[in-house]
Subunit: 366 residues, 2 copies
């Protein structure tokens, strides 16, 4: 196992990067850009590398996870790597029966439906995860050693999204079984969320300690929640996850400044709960393409750095249409203290990688 | 075939009902209530009636469609019937190869992906639908004859949602193939939308002529669209659908007042496009549970009657929790000129019907 050495922030490698500056709310001269799911199926070099290796196996093989993380940075010259992993990896590492079915997503061996199911799950001590995180720490350390001054963003799923998979047993529309449990059995729900927060918080903390200069918490399905339910039944657990990384500080090369890694919080279709997602302790809020970026910034009070929100469906449009869209998103992003260009959802697998590279060039020219 | 006689509005049966009053923006003394998908799988009498009959066959058998529409009105004493049908019924009637797969939804024999596919589809003359609408007219006429003073709401899918099924070939997440076509081949997209509007408009018009006192246009998947895309690539076709019913007027019994049927427009997760959904010509806007009802009313300018938005996941909560939620939704609805209580999405199949009946009693007592 590669042992992490000095953290890139401490080594003075990434603290001045455009990404970290923007995440701290200081607008850099050039707008930084990266793409959610940039490491993945849109790249032929990724598809080649994955032949014969299952998704979770790839996530847990340090050489593979690291190489896959680096591929889009090399190809597109994006301003960040996003750690190649999956939100269910910490569940797998703590012994939950989960697999990723191609074309479908994470599927559980057994859905967690009853109070007894929850009790059985949460009886697993989250602290045992720490001893299983070797492959993650190794992969992150390898990756940051290669990335140099390009920051790596750590990756974790938020408790609600993980709980939605656990309760539903797999992907679902509207996640109504999970959302029903929070009302029909609030005690079991709270226990499930608290346990999941401990698991995913440890997963994220390990990545930061191993060298990630920022972190993104994906609450992919939080957009299925009403603002009231999010605040009452979800936000406390997401706040708990962020406590795992908030207390980590790194002394910058000046010897006096203590820096912690900025945290981005994103979910699909979360236009109704943006302030609540900030309030769990996020420094930056990612905004789905459904919400106009200027409107999202307004809802956040105008003083929060934002990330997003090119519509992924635009990536297949004629270049003139896509270019106009990217310029419009950039213009709308000027209402925030800083803006990191990204998609408003993940890269579709069918995307022509050359288009992504061209978008990076365009954003850097704006 | 049962031939429709005098329209219920003309006969003075439904014009003074609480539902139609609220839809016209005049708040009645008692808040009207009905439930999206009230006719369906949550009712044992429905499941019994459907044994051995496929979904689309049930929709096209007038006795069955009528009886299924009436079941929840009898059981729950809701203030409206919603015509039992499916948004793909007009496609089926015009000869498109479509079936409804239990647990999955509408599936097309062939997806409409290319310009040639679109050209082939739109070569079917929409006017030929008129001669195939007999079973629909029959079912509506039977139903309104039974409903008396309870209004029937006609039902149709909006062009975007139908196009999403056609392009994707079945249900999909984010409908990215359809949303991509609107950018990559806007001419084919416009042709597809225009054709679909003619089909679904005729389907809705037939229901109104046969006795529906109101109409609801379901753009189920419009929540996957950005406001810009909705306005540019979707709204014109939805406006065209509503032209099919806007010009139908009925002389009320006073002999002087000309009334047309009010139109409700609803989609899942459409909090970002509520004003645009009103602007296609809707009288009432349905609001998904994700958006706080008072916030939705505010976005609509405070002068539009609204419908919604109990969270369906709350139907399994202990009664005290559900009651508090319904009272809160009712209180928030007071900001609009009028409010029709409903869910913010369809009735989940597992719902205890007794709970729905109790919600009706509660709403009528508020």
């Amino acid at each position: 196992m590669l042992v992490p050495t000095t953290h890139p922030l401490q080594a003075g490698l990434t603290a001045e990067s455009t990404l970290i500056s923007a995440y701290r709310g200081i607008r850099p001269a050039t707008t930084p850009v990266w793409f959610m799911r940039q490491a993945g199926r849109s790249l032929p070099e990724y598809r080649e590398l994955r032949v014969g290796t299952e998704m979770l196996q790839a996530c847990l093989t340090p050489e593979l996870a690291s190489e896959i993380t680096l591929q889009p940075v090399r190809r597109h010259a994006v301003d960040a790597g996003i750690f190649f992993s999956d939100i269910v990896v910490p569940l797998k590492l703590v012994g939950v029966d989960v697999s990723i079915v191609p074309g479908r997503g994470p599927v559980m061996g057994k859905a967690v439906r009853t109070a007894a199911d929850v009790a059985e799950l949460v009886a697993n001590d989250p602290a045992q995860l720490d001893s299983a995180l070797g492959p993650i720490i190794d992969a992150v350390a390898r990756t940051v050693a290669e990335l140099g001054t390009t920051p790596l963003i750590g990756f974790a799923g938020a408790p609600f999204t993980l709980a939605a998979y656990l309760v539903e047993g797999g992907p679902s529309k509207d996640h109504i079984r999970a959302r029903t449990m929070m009302h029909s059995d609030p005690e079991s729900w709270a226990a499930l969320m608290a346990w999941t927060a401990e698991i995913t918080g440890r997963f994220l903390r390990a990545q930061v300690l191993a060298g990630a200069s920022a972190a993104q918490l994906f609450d992919s399905w939080a957009g299925s929640l009403s603002p009231d339910d999010y605040a009452r039944h979800v936000a406390p657990a997401s706040a708990r996850v962020l406590e795992f990384v908030r207390d980590l500080t790194f002394t910058l090369p000046d010897g006096t400044t203590e820096a912690r890694v900025p945290v981005v919080h994103f979910g699909v279709g979360t236009g109704e709960i943006l302030p609540q997602m900030r309030d769990v302790g996020a420094d930056v809020v990612g905004i789905d393409y459904r919400t106009r970026l200027d409107e999202g910034i307004r809802r956040l009070g105008g003083n929060v750095p934002v990330q997003g929100n090119i519509d992924p469906a635009m990536l297949a449009a004629p270049w003139a249409v896509l270019e106009a869209h990217v310029r419009e998103v950039h213009r709308r992003g000027l209402d925030a203290p800083a803006h990191v260009m990204n998609l408003g959802h993940g890269v579709p697998p069918e995307t022509d990688p050359a288009v992504l590279t061209r978008v990076v060039e365009l954003v850097h020219s704006l």
